[in-house]
Symmetry: C2
Subunit: 371 residues, 2 copies
């Protein structure tokens, strides 16, 4: 359920053209072609799925990190230690997207041999949407899991300061006629970007989204931006401690397991004060190791069938959805019609295009409202 | 954060005596000693941790299922297929506790060789607290994961009928001076038992706990008990679709992956209309495959240190807790002082004691209030 709907005054750009432009830009930062291509693939996939906060809109920040030399665009991950079903990679402070692609592919290959496998990455950076790596496993017929820690924005239940990131959980699986089931969720109630949207719209906030710096529920976006996000579930009375627990488990499996930075010790992901040293976790599970893959997919299809045809609550804004459905529908449409980017996003990319002398692809005014 | 605090008019019973009595009772149902011992261990561990809903209070229902021959107390799980890191067991419709103990031990042994391993179980039954199996891995120095599907009680976001179980997620890890981190949470906002408590207390319900049969938010326990629980996050506006997504992922990894029953097709766990055919998922991850185990534990200790010392919100009812802390403190106290069971629970066990001719252990009136 994407947050960043309806960019007003947006521009439409062809997905393939944006991919080539992004690849060229990332190469110009010092990344070899294969690394640049991984970064561009993940960013454009995010834009296609309507998750504008994690796509090419991040390029100005990547440029800043590379130029400040707090990350190394040319770095390749190194396999440090491991056994057949658990491996540790050092990302060498390179692009998280490339380290992630290498690590999840490694897990997929090992899972094909052993039935299941985990890759953990340390010394990494921002990797875009968590879902991309889980989808990579699902595209190979497997169940994929992708987790990352992030800089602290979330206050544990009862605490009034941020101690944990929005630490996303992504899981994907092949789903036959439904293509793919893709859960990709922050373990906070809402992402920080949603507060920024509320600020632009002048909205007041419901209880459970965020706390003010003094620890009371934030009622305005300004209080929330100065304070902390709340974990999924919100207040203690509505089980916010479960979202806190999930964020902590993501931290356990990424930074703590991988020997990367963790929790309150992670500096801002886009800060030039130092390297991020993030931890990431990937798992692939091959249903073919214990059953016919087709039988597994048929069961998942049937479950989705049953759920999406359930009778609706009175005020339902639409049908019952399965995880990843709106993003997948948007990706199909934008693949055909072009990706709609908002004005601010467009201007920031044009500025990079000019600076690096890489002409930005042709765009059209987005007259239809994407939904 | 246990729900079942403060039994009024309770009795205190020695944990070891309750364990022996439970073992003998389960043997009398036709289970060999080792199976009976597994069942008793899990149930008494639940009572010790203050999760009365999943402990020996379930014995009358197990007796009913065994006597109706819809489950087989003597059945032993069979390893059906697998590769080194993913195995499928058929529980042969036996006790879920025993199948779970065997399957998680198998995953622990395989993880010691391969670094990580998954066991999936089909054709299983109720297995008590999900956390017990994750803790088994943690007691062996590993990260443990335990998942089960359950009979449908939760309505997906926008749906007005129950399609998914409360599908718990449990993760545990060794935590040095904090002993163990144990997250053990239903993916619904609250368990059904909490609604029953609200009914006894005459409470009204907050939005986000449950819906009435017509799909509107349930404001009374009666409406909720006739309707459906809501997934973690509650309403769509507070991200209830994330809890729905998590419940669906648990279903994916248990019933769908294992080839057991799933979602709305699962009959009531304690119904004698037919067998449950539950699916369960266990994973063990050995940090020792990629690092010194002690270094891993030291990092987790440090993270917990930092979190529990965070400054508090103004109305905090106590300090910041780490997952599993209240349950672990209660278990230590009840191990020393005896387990406090409420009147209804005590009467139901006395009735079984009389029927099977196994004298119930001596109890004392619980004069102090457990907390």
């Amino acid at each position: 359920m994407p947050v960043y709907d309806d960019p007003v005054g947006g521009s439409r750009v062809d997905a393939g053209a944006l991919l080539r432009w992004t690849t060229e830009l990332v190469e110009r930062l010092g990344a070899p072609l294969d690394i640049a291509n991984d970064v561009a693939e993940v960013l454009v996939a995010s834009d296609l799925r309507g998750i504008a906060s994690h796509g090419t809109a991040r390029l100005p920040q990547y440029v800043m990190l590379a130029e400040a030399r707090v990350m190394n665009p040319a770095a390749r991950p190194v396999l440090e230690r491991g056994k057949p079903a658990l491996s540790l990679f050092d990302a060498q402070n390179g692009f998280g997207h490339h380290a992630g692609r290498v690590a999840v592919d490694y897990a997929i290959d090992r899972a094909a041999e052993s039935g299941a496998a985990v890759s953990v990455v340390r010394n990494s950076n921002h990797y875009g949407i968590a879902g991309w790596y889980a989808m990579r496993a699902a595209a190979n017929g497997m169940i994929g899991v992708s987790l990352t820690n992030t800089s602290p924005l979330v206050a544990p239940t009862r605490a009034r300061v941020s101690m944990l990131g929005t630490n996303p959980i992504a899981v994907a699986a092949p789903a036959g006629k439904y293509e793919m089931l893709v859960l990709d969720m922050a373990t906070s109630t809402i992402p920080r970007g949603r507060i920024e949207v509320a600020a632009r719209r002048g909205e007041r906030l419901p209880v459970g989204w965020a706390i003010a710096p003094d620890g009371s529920p934030a009622t305005t976006p300004e209080q929330a931006l100065a304070g902390s996000l709340q974990p999924l579930g919100g207040e203690e009375s509505t089980a916010g401690y479960k979202g806190y627990g999930l964020a902590l488990i993501v931290e356990l499996l990424t930074g703590v397991l991988g020997g990367a930075a963790f929790g309150p010790n992670i500096i801002g992901l886009f800060s030039t004060a130092g390297k991020s040293d993030l931890g990431q976790f990937y798992m692939a599970i091959d249903p073919g190791a214990i059953d016919d893959r087709a039988a597994f997919v048929a069961r998942l299809e049937r479950l989705i069938d049953q759920i999406i045809h359930a009778p609706l609550i009175p005020d339902a804004p639409g049908p019952v959805l399965y995880p990843g459905q709106p993003e997948s529908e948007r990706a199909s449409r934008q693949h055909r019609q072009g990706i709609v980017i908002d004005r601010e996003h467009h201007v920031s990319l044009l500025s990079l295009a000019q600076r690096f002398g890489i002409p930005f692809p042709e765009t059209q005014v987005a007259t239809t409202t994407p939904s």
